[in-house]
Symmetry: C2
Subunit: 151 residues, 2 copies
Amino acid sequence: MNIGEAAKASGVSAKMIRYYEATGLIPKAERRTSGYRDYSPADVHNLRFIRRARDMGFAVAEIHELLGLWRDRSRHSADVKRIAAAHVEELSVRIAAMEEMRSTLQTLIGCCAGDDRPDCPILADLEEPGVAVRPDAQARLRERAIANRRG
Amino acid sequence: MNIGEAAKASGVSAKMIRYYEATGLIPKAERRTSGYRDYSPADVHNLRFIRRARDMGFAVAEIHELLGLWRDRSRHSADVKRIAAAHVEELSVRIAAMEEMRSTLQTLIGCCAGDDRPDCPILADLEEPGVAVRPDAQARLRERAIANRRG
DNA sequence: GATGGGGCTTGCCATCATGGGAAGGTCAAG
DNA sequence: CTTGACCTTCCCATGATGGCAAGCCCCATC
C-alpha cells in the first residue's frame, strides 16, 4: 500500500503519516526499491487508532503512551484509565475557561445596543473591566485564559 | 516608563509588548537617547485593553479591529457587537467539540475497571469505535475535532 | 517506446502567541 | 568604578498541520 492509499484508508493525511514517522510515534515504514513507503493493513490499523485518539483530543505525546499500552498485553487498565481521566480533567479546565469567556461576552453583548451610535459596553469593559462584570469573575477569567492558552 | 514598568502596569509581558509593536498591533514606541523604549500612561492604557481582550479569548487580528473601533469616535456599536458575537459563536463551536470529547471519554472511563487486568474499553473503542459509542456521535466528534484543531 | 499525468520523495516555510536564551549596551546604587 | 538589574536585537522552540517546489517513479494510453 502506498502512503496515499494508507492515508485514505486510515483518515490520517500522508503529510501527517510522515510526520508521525519522523517524530517516532510510529516505526519507520518499509520501503520499496523505488523508495516509496509501503504499508500493511496492520499499519493502517495503527494509524486508525491514532486518528481516533486525535479525534478525542489526545496530544501526540499521550497517544504515544496509549499506543505503548495498546501493544502491551500485560498492561493494567488502570494506566489507560489514568491517562484518559487526566485528559478529561484538562478538557474540563479548558471548557470552563472558554465558558467563562463566553458568559462574560454574552453579558456584554446583551448590554450593547448594536446600532449606529458609538456607545458600547463591550469596549467600555475592555477599557475598564468591572463596569458590567464582577471583579471575582475577572480574576478567574484571567487565570483560566492563561491556562487555556498553554493547553 | 521603561518597558518592564509598562509590562508590570499593564499585565502584558515585555516580550509581548515588543511583539505587538513588531506586528503593528501597537505603534512604535518612543525611544530615549539610550535606545530604550519609553511608554506613557496612555500606552499602558492601550496595553491593558489588549490584555483584557486576550483574556476574553480574542485573537490578535480581532483585537486589531477592536482597537480601531475603540479609537474611532464615530464608530457604530453594531460593528463591535458583530465581532464579539462572532467570537462567541467560535467559542461555542469549540466548547461543543470539547464537550463531546469529554462526554465520550467519560462514558468509556465509566466502563473501565481501572485495575491490574489488561481488558480496557477505552483502548477497545480507540481500536474499533462503536463498541461503547453510537456511530452518529462519532461522526460529529470527528468533524468537531477538526474544527477545533483549526480554531 | 515515448509521453503525460498523477503520486511519491525530501526539504523548507508558515501558522499563532508565547517563552527562552545569548551577546552586548545602559543605568543606577553602592 | 564596579556590580547587578535592566534594556536592545536576533535566533530558536513550541504543536500539529498545511503548502509549495524540485525531482523521481509508475502506469496507462497513444
